[in-house]
Symmetry: C2
Subunit: 234 residues, 2 copies
């Protein structure tokens, strides 16, 4: 929204690359290479970068080359705090408005997560885990809530890239299954409790500092994300 078609592709590709930790925190994102990679002008690149910056995924400003953000511990805690609050509301609303037809697609998603985990595709696994929560948010029927949750979820992926254990699969698949069960039973209290514990687990795993890599080869990384980033998330 607000971005043109082509700029949207660049935005989505970069966003997904960051989510999957293909672009690690600290990586520089110069406008010219990005423009060439996506075959758009710098103007559109700037629009995409501006949006990523507004969502806290990259750091820009003052004639400095944009870089993938490296959230501080304080920022990380703030993001998790807001996420707990939003996820609780999501679960509450999803339970309240639950429809039996919702169960199958959620379970299918969890199966995908499991498949990715078994296949050892850590990056895909991380992305799918995040998307599960976004799927849930959609069930709330509230587009704004969905947008906010989408933002904090993506930032959590980034935080895990900085502070999390390498290859720790973001969410335990079994916890997602338990959540679905509780919601399908209409047990809102249980579902909210499960979600709270689930997030607690993620946050605990996320607060183990480790060293960061930097300065990778942009072209080879983005090539695979440039094409067919799928349907816009909203």
């Amino acid at each position: 929204m607000g971005l043109s078609q082509k700029a949207d592709i660049a935005y989505l590709a970069l966003r997904q690359a960051i989510m999957e930790q293909a672009l690690t925190p600290g990586t520089k994102l110069p406008e010219d290479p990005l423009a060439e990679q996506f075959e758009i002008s710098r103007t559109l690149v700037r629009a995409a970068l501006a949006r990523l910056a507004s969502e806290g995924l990259i750091e820009v400003g003052n004639k400095r080359t944009a870089t993938v953000a490296q959230p501080s511990l304080d920022e990380a805690r703030a993001v998790f705090e807001v996420r707990r609050c939003l996820e609780a509301e999501v679960v509450r609303l999803a339970c309240e408005r639950w429809q039996s037809a919702w169960r199958a697609p959620l379970e299918a998603h969890v199966r995908d997560e499991q498949a990715a985990a078994k296949a050892g595709q850590a990056n895909v696994s991380i992305r799918l885990a995040g998307e599960f929560h976004i799927q849930l948010a959609r069930l709330s029927g509230n587009p704004l809530l969905t947008r906010y949750l989408s933002e904090v979820t993506t930032r959590c992926s980034l935080i895990l890239a900085v502070y999390g254990r390498p290859h720790s699969s973001d969410c335990a698949v079994t916890e997602h299954r338990a959540l679905i069960d509780a919601m399908a039973r209409g047990d809102a209290a249980k579902a909210m409790k499960l979600m709270a514990e689930h997030l607690e687990g993620i946050e605990a795993r996320a607060l183990i500092p480790r060293t960061v890599r930097s300065d990778q080869d942009l072209g080879s990384i983005l090539a695979q994300y440039a094409q067919a980033v799928g349907t816009p998330s909203r």
Copy 2:
């Protein structure tokens, strides 16, 4: 943030004009007049508009002139739903981290609200009422929570412009005072209850449809907002 100094001024001025309902929903915002008004180029105007659009305050896209947004009833309900959730968290955290030094500034703000209300300055009154909630959010110590709450609060002002009673002062001053008292006493439960009722009242007043005006004179309206929009809100 992300916007240059001059673009920031345009953003803040437009935002405040929308908050104070000086620019009513449906008003067109052509880029050229704005550029002239703020003495910046269209590039910077576009940056400011993009940000306003991302916050749901204006509608853009599809080669159409940007207009002040006219939230639908569904959107309005969604915004209030998220606001209830965020405000509850704000109050909870503000109580948890309460410091006695916070009381005086809050009470000073409420006095300003009262003065504006007595002076019959409906627009200033609406803005101050919104800013009280943003002040509260800052006390949570969570910048992300503050940003989100700031966004929904501003959108609520817009919603009141579309659906609210004319000149209904957004928040009853006495309710703000009661809220401060409860927090100062450390009575989190009471404070959260007061906030919930307070928001309920606002939402109830906001859901009375009325006709909308449109197409006003941009120049004369923006002239007063262009200068000294004060310090950036974050």
